[in-house]
């Protein structure tokens, strides 16, 4: 999993049917200290009600994403916002 910051949203009218009605967030990956990790980012499906500006936890692996979402095994989903980060303590 990665720590990231929600920097925006994406809305698509034409898209794979599974994504219809699912909120998609632009999450830039961050280091533990909160600084951006270069330009690394991902567009992820939100299951925790995260919003722009919040620090979040992102899962970026297909099988665990589908398991978490209860999605059929051929669903083309990989990236999911799975948590809202309250605090990071790292040396």
């Amino acid at each position: 999993m990665r720590i990231g910051k929600v920097c925006g949203t994406v809305v698509s009218t034409v898209q794979h049917e599974w994504y219809q009605g699912r909120k998609q967030l632009i999450v830039r990956y961050t280091n533990p200290d909160g600084s951006f990790d270069g330009n690394a980012y991902v567009v992820a499906v939100d299951v925790v009600g995260a919003g722009v500006g919040q620090r979040v936890l992102v899962e970026d692996e297909g099988n665990s994403a589908r398991q978490l979402l209860g999605a059929p095994k051929h669903t083309p989903v990989r990236s999911v916002v799975v948590g809202i980060v309250d605090r990071v303590d790292a040396g």
Binding site: K5, C7, V10, S12, T13, V14, Q15, I26, H74
Partner: protein
Amino acid sequence: MKLARVIGTLVATTKAEGMDGLKMLIIKPLNADLSAGGDPIVATDGSAQAGPDDLVTYESSREGALLHHPRVVPVDAAIVGIVSQHSYDEDA
């Protein structure tokens, strides 16, 4: 998923088995703020409706191929959707 801009199309008459009829597009990966984010790649079109200049989301690796399920296709990047609204504020 990541963001990209469709910049062209590609036609290949001779293709591996399973790829027949797939629409292929040249897409240029973008960063979160829509600045240029890498060299162009070839992606199949899971939405079947994307065209040049469209802003799209695409999925790579195994999940890209799943966009064409139940077909089993040798594909490593596929377009998921055509973006109609993109908002971005890294200082939020």
